[in-house]
């Protein structure tokens, strides 16, 4: 998490980055002076703000840009946290989900050696289906259950540029599935990853890992990098202390080419491929593989206008012996145009389409019917950011209209306002509607594979709907201390339920949309740069989730288990530069119990010691989960897996 993190203009923005910034993405109260659209040069933040930035952040500031429009960072009208590359390095994390623990507005629970439940604002689950996750503009949720297979989402962590985590709906800009939050992961431009990097690590949870990257120049303005990585992860343990036999390993490789064709044009082509074998206790291992290819073109048309065109292809294969085998192909096309309309209107509009071809080989026990499905979705959106009072009050209105084969047309409007009475304060509020469109698990899952079904797919399942009310406040209390509060009330309708078809018998059941719910809570974060060599981050989240059957619905079983969320969680992180070559970082996290799953509350701590003897070598040792021999974070006792206290050592060499 980085409250001081700035979001600055870049030559080759990741898809949707600018869009996101338009709604005020960015969390800093640095007092970046907003200027009118007529000015061509963005003034820098005041010295007091520049002095607390890291070297990396200073190097990200464009001093010459004739650019564009400055993003009004301190006016962010949403609950956003930014994780920087420096945060990632110093977390000692070995996987994306571990990194996401740095965003204190997320619920992050490790389920077993490879599975995670990650969401914001409630309804967490291994099938958590209300978060949108993007890696370099590529959506990584599976339309199978509208959630994320975290085991196959990876990249070379050293190449990560930043992760923006927004809690709360982002559907107006990001579309269906951005119901409770958006996680936007971007990797560095190839120009910034020149030269070689070799890293190797070993420990208890990660038995072995290695990564290699090399970046070079193909032509004067064309840069590339290629990378490969491998890891082998150890088992988690059952509550009884017996190994869960869920060790797994993955091999991944990829490339990225960035070409600044002209002053106004930038092209990016990138791709990844992976293959892995996943332990499943006493059952036969699952096999996964996949590949993706992204092409992106961005052109700036004028100082206040640019467009972006992106297309990607994504293939995933997952074979779960005894359960099902899935081959999923996705083609996605996205276009966005940004323009200024008069001095006080910034308009963004765009359209997109996605084709998803899903092919499942079923087993007798359960089946997705029909096994083969091809869905095409379309969306169009427009948003206007209106400056009602220069430097003080900005209103953002917008809506998305999208069509989905399962649920037809959906509209996702929002209204956001950010008020900046002075350079140290922002007060923001938002009302938004978001939907989660039905996934295959809602509509097409039958068990067993032939009638009579015990569990039947629900042809009547409609989209889950959310109306969210948000109110937030940020304040730079002192030059080195920023505090942020985001509060929300979320009202959900048509949440997924399982309705008994022959009550009072519990089975058969049919998937339906019979639950409504309400969640409310507050997310408080603070970042204190106590001294130039010592930073503290803290986050506290309070959450209440309530759900009940809708009139006419009779499902009484799902309701009790739909919310698997701790009422409060607290995280504290300290980053300390001991000397020119030594770093010591600590992380404390505390989570209250999850009553519906009888998961006890827990407190855990990580400790990292880093040593950079030269500019090219770095060594680190991380102690993980130090406070207890082992602890569980999610699931009912029978299925719960626990993580043991561990240690991890890593060396990396730049050449």
């Amino acid at each position: 998490m980085n409250l001081f993190g700035t979001i600055l203009n870049r030559r080759t923005p990741s898809p949707r980055r600018k869009l996101a910034t338009l709604v005020g993405v960015g969390l800093c109260l640095l007092g970046l002076t907003p200027i009118s659209a007529a000015e061509t040069r963005a003034p820098l933040p005041p010295p007091s703000a520049l002095k607390v930035l890291t070297l990396e952040q200073l190097m990200d500031i464009d001093v010459t840009s004739v650019s564009k429009r400055p993003e009004k960072l301190f006016e962010a009208a949403s609950a956003i946290q930014v994780i920087t590359a420096e945060d990632v390095r110093r977390s000692g994390a070995t996987r994306l989900p571990e990194i996401l623990r740095l965003a204190t507005n997320l619920e992050v629970a490790q389920i077993d050696s490879r599975q995670w439940a990650i969401t914001a604002r409630g309804f967490n689950n291994v099938f958590a289906d209300k978060m949108l996750v993007l890696i370099d503009g590529r959506s990584v949720y599976t339309p199978l259950y509208a959630g994320v297979y975290w085991d196959v989402q990876d990249t070379l962590l050293e190449d990560l540029d930043r992760i923006e985590v927004i809690s709360g709906p982002g559907a107006t800009q990001w579309g269906a599935n951005a119901v409770d939050g958006v996680i936007n992961i971007t990797t560095k431009n190839a120009k910034d990853t020149q030269g070689g990097l070799l890293s190797a690590g070993a420990g208890t949870a990660v038995r072995g890992s290695t990564g290699l990257r090399y970046g070079g120049q193909l032509a004067p303005d064309v840069f590339y990098r290629v990378y490969g990585k491998y890891f082998d992860r150890a088992d988690s343990v059952r509550i009884s202390g017996v190994s869960a036999n869920d060790a797994w390993r993955m091999l991944q490789g990829g490339f990225r080419i960035d070409w600044n064709a002209a002053a106004n044009d930038a092209f990016t082509v990138q791709g990844d491929t992976y293959s892995g074998s996943l332990g499943r206790g006493d059952l036969e291992n699952s096999r996964v593989n996949g590949a993706n290819l992204i092409g992106r073109w961005s052109r700036s048309l004028a100082t206040d206008s640019d467009f972006k065109l992106q297309v990607y292809f994504d293939h995933t294969h997952r074979q779960i012996p005894g359960s099902f085998t899935q081959d999923l192909n996705t083609i996605d096309l996205d276009f966005q145009h940004r323009l200024a309309a008069g001095a006080s209107h910034q308009v963004v509009w765009g359209l997109g389409s996605r084709l998803v071809a899903d092919d499942i080989v079923n087993t007798p026990d359960n089946a997705f019917l029909p096994p083969k499905v091809t869905r095409v979705g379309f969306n169009v959106f427009a948003q206007d950011e209106i400056t009602l009072s220069k430097d003080r009050l900005v209103l953002t209105l917008g809506t998305k209209l999208e069509h989905d084969d399962y649920s037809g047309f959906e509209i996702e409007p929002s209204i956001r306002a950010a008020w900046t009475p002075d350079k140290q304060t922002t007060l923001w509020a938002a009302i938004s509607r978001a939907v989660r469109t039905p996934s295959r698990i809602d509509r097409d899952l039958f068990s067993p594979a032939t009638p009579p079904y015990r569990v039947a797919g629900g042809s009547h399942v409609v989209a889950e709907k959310l109306i969210a009310w948000e109110l937030g406040y940020r304040r730079q209390l002192m030059p080195r201390l920023i505090v942020s509060v985001a509060t929300f009330i979320d009202n959900y309708d048509d949440l997924r339920s399982l309705e008994p078809l022959a009550p009072p018998r519990a089975f058969p059941v049919e998937a339906s949309s019979g639950i409504r719910g309400r969640s409310s809570g507050a997310e408080v974060t603070a970042e204190w740069r106590a001294t130039p060599t010592w930073r503290l981050h803290a986050g506290f989240t309070e959450l209440r989730v309530h759900s009940e059957p809708q009139p006419g619905a009779i499902d009484r079983s799902t309701r009790g288990s739909i919310a698997r969320d701790p009422n409060h969680q607290f995280r504290l992180r300290s980053l300390w530069d001991i000397s020119a070559h030594w770093e010591c970082d600590a992380e404390l996290r505390s989570t209250s119990s999850i009553p519906s799953q009888s998961v006890p509350g827990y407190t855990e701590a990580n400790l990292r010691l880093g040593w950079s003897p030269t500019a090219t070598w770095e060594f680190s040792v991380v102690g993980q989960n130090l406070l207890q021999n082992r602890h569980g974070e999610f699931n009912t006792p029978l299925g719960r897996r626990e993580m043991e206290r561990g240690v991890h050592a890593k060396a990396s060499w730049r050449f």
């Binding site: 010295p47 070297l55 200073l58 190097m59 464009d62 840009s65 600044n260 009602l388 530069d577 070559h581």
Partner: protein, 195 residues
Amino acid sequence: MAFLTIARVWFWRFAGRACTICLLAFLVPRAVAANPATPAAEYQLKAVFLFNFAQFAEWPEKAFTDARAPLVIGLLGEDPFGAYLDDLVKDEKIDTHPLQVRRFATIEDATPCHILFISRSEATHLGNIVAQLKGRSILTISDADTFTRAGGMVRFVTESGKIRLRINVEAAKACNLTISSKILRPATIVTAGKD
């Protein structure tokens, strides 16, 4: 536009009331004085980099006469920073050493100091300047193109509008200076005689 006017009035009222009720204690607007002599954005940033070097480089103990001796940032040649740099380091301390900016016309005057920024105006005799400072624990920084080739320690390079660092670690070591990995990590390391 009538709608906008109504919205504006409504929002001002609403926001004003909300502010009064909830946040009275917090909302103390601060006056922000504009500095008439603000240098270009490039030099504002470079000034902040100088401040960072003061924080994240280490000098041998004998570089300071006592614990309260100032850490001096020297400027040699034409001053591109103006009062911005002085304001930036005003009231700042590195451990017990207050920061101080001093301006020097010639290299012979440039003592004592801990960091020396060499202006582009001195580009023609960089070799001579570096030779004069040989063996002294002074961190030399410049944005002149040939600075690291001439034996200087840190060079600012502006690439695609962003400031990058080229650092000759060996040259700094030879003068008993330690530069933190915090600075070295995002920098490009060069060896003597290279750009």
